[in-house]
Subunit: 162 residues, 2 copies
């Protein structure tokens, strides 16, 4: 499996939407999650920092939840963008989603020092509402399973923008 | 309502368990969430950093999920500690929980620059397994609702510790 996402949906977000602590390219101190297609599934690859500890040796659950969260909104954006006839990098501005709900089951302790892969599928439940099912692997070990309901960004986010 | 938790359960965790990125007092770059009693409910008070952005002006969901996560394990520890006859600061070492599952519903966009309060109740579903129901408020506005299932730390975490 590729170790770096070549064409990520986040690379195509306009600057105003590129400040997300999870996946915004312009947020200097953020995680810089990048989500792309892996055939008909979606993938985000990330190596947690040493600071991202739960118990020494294991990754903090909040970072795994963050990975699943942004993987979810990114996957929903990829899926709707493809439905609209577009792929990352083709010059079209992708739709932007926010998270309505986030569920994470922590299945096994996630070891530190290992690159994590979040792999998911996006399911349309309404033209503006998608459900993304995600599994997080450390090497071949399934460590967490998540589900995100993502909705096309409502206008309240934009009108209230600072 | 108090603006600072006076006696937090995390203050009593032994050093080996004080490295959590969310709530470990020894993790220099972590969030330093601190959870204490508010009569028969539990509370964690936290002001997200400017970096913790989703869309400019609003707090990143992964940080809210992290707050709910550590508030959940801290609340479970408080509840079992009280069941065992102890209160934070009384010199007894508290039990330590890890998260089995984390569910977050994002109800309203969470404004930045506001101190958040996570307020919860802990429900025993097994002597070693507690469910914590949490609401996150920005001032008086309910922004997110969460549920954490927390379990007393399994021995695998400790034997695999670096």
């Amino acid at each position: 499996m590729e170790e770096k996402v070549q064409k990520a949906i986040q690379d195509d977000y306009p600057d105003d939407f590129a400040w997300c602590y999870g996946c915004g390219g312009l947020n200097k101190n953020g995680h810089h999650f990048r989500t792309g297609w892996l055939e008909d599934r979606t993938v985000t690859i990330y190596t947690p920092l040493q600071d991202h500890t739960a118990i020494p040796g294991f990754v903090y659950g909040g970072v795994i939840a963050s990975l699943i969260d942004c993987h979810g909104t990114g996957s929903a954006a990829l899926a709707l963008h493809r439905k609209n006839g577009h792929e990352p990098g083709d010059g079209a501005e992708p739709p932007r989603f926010v998270t309505a709900s986030l569920n994470v089951d922590f299945i096994k302790p996630t070891p530190q020092g290992v690159t994590l892969k979040a792999i998911g599928t996006a399911e349309e439940i309404h033209p503006k509402k998608w459900k993304v099912h995600t599994e997080v692997f450390a090497d071949e070990t399934l460590c967490a399973r998540g589900e995100v309901v993502a909705v096309v960004i409502p206008s309240t986010f934009i009108t209230n923008k600072k």
